[in-house]
Symmetry: C2
Subunit: 260 residues, 2 copies
Amino acid sequence: MKKRKLLVAKIGGNIIENQDSLNSFLSDFAKIKQPKILVHGGGKSATNLAMRLGVRTEMIDGRRITSVENLEIVVKTYAGLLNKKIVASLQKHNCNALGLTGSDANVILAEKRPVQFIDYGYVGDVINVNADTIKEFLELGITPVFCAVTHDGNGQLLNTNADTIASEIASAMGDHYEVSLFYCFELKGVLEDIGDKDSVIEHINLEKYNKLIEAKIIADGMLPKLQNCFDALQKKVSEVHIANAEFIKDQTTKHTTLSL
Amino acid sequence: MKKRKLLVAKIGGNIIENQDSLNSFLSDFAKIKQPKILVHGGGKSATNLAMRLGVRTEMIDGRRITSVENLEIVVKTYAGLLNKKIVASLQKHNCNALGLTGSDANVILAEKRPVQFIDYGYVGDVINVNADTIKEFLELGITPVFCAVTHDGNGQLLNTNADTIASEIASAMGDHYEVSLFYCFELKGVLEDIGDKDSVIEHINLEKYNKLIEAKIIADGMLPKLQNCFDALQKKVSEVHIANAEFIKDQTTKHTTLSL
């Protein structure tokens, strides 16, 4: 039997910070008729609240070192304000959104990252995505909206990278659906030259990926993002794209497509 | 056909503020085998965050005047930190909790309270509880956990009294279930003498309720709480109790039972 199609879209921090970009994206996303899942980040809002509260934010390689106080700020911002604003906005556009952390209905179980060289604090690595429960929500006509918070099953909430959550969910849903994964952000895709916003690399396979790393064209935050893309492709995800937020309504726009 | 039993329990601010009381309550609540719903307040946490951010909190008759900034604080605190801490803790106790605002799966629709003498700001009065969706969650073995945030269906989140949410949910579920509604807080029930914590009035019917109001024994925050109780009884709720949080594990403890 042919599997149904499922879209997993992830929107990044800069789209979320800009109210107009966010509204425009959500209005387009709501119009998609097939089953769909949204995953959102929201880093800057947490950093802003931390600043207002006088709480120090420490990042190493783009990862937030998450103290108890930082975790509370992350949960308030991601699971509270951002997630619920997005859900209410999707409801306005007749999309039956349901906001979720990994703890809700136990949909994503994680473990606190072990301390090796760096103690990331309350950062969680995904152990299991409960695909059956997510499928039950989808079958009720619900659109799950995930923020970047998981739990360890022992009462502890954990801060988990939103790109990774999107990749893990997309992979887990691959048993039930033919899954497309879109990473949407403010740029048009992976750029050959970071100074030229039109220098989009339209196709990246594993071989090209390794060459781009060697040439240092892919670096910083783009490295783990691409790793998440290839992880998803190596599991059960049919297609992965890195694109501008506008890609959600027009899939002919220039962007980056990943393949193995 | 005999209806299945459903418990709707509401826990108030003071239980939530105290980590030991909260843990103990949640551990007992998780043990209840029948379908159940939890509603929580959380006023003090929002007031504390407002203070730390230098945002003014204004209360009239125990109701929070909710400016844009206050609403953001309320959503961060209620829907974010408190709701997710409670959900993660229930998951630890093997209760499959799902945290919800009214906007999630459109479970509670409200309208912004019209300005008459007082402008309450972004405060919502409940228009509709989506009992069918809540029933679908219950049938999946999920325990819905509601915080005191609703939406207007037009993208606006609203601050809504948690006692009222509990009463409205209990009433709406009355078509499908035989519903018991427990209001759990730090006192043993409604007190004859506020200075004597053992002076519990064990039974209050409508007639006695009016007499207690006349005698000014029921006043302040207890007035709307009792009104919510009688509203629920007048709709389709089988039994309503106001009791200490310990009542959740031992229903023989002295408390207040309401009847028409």
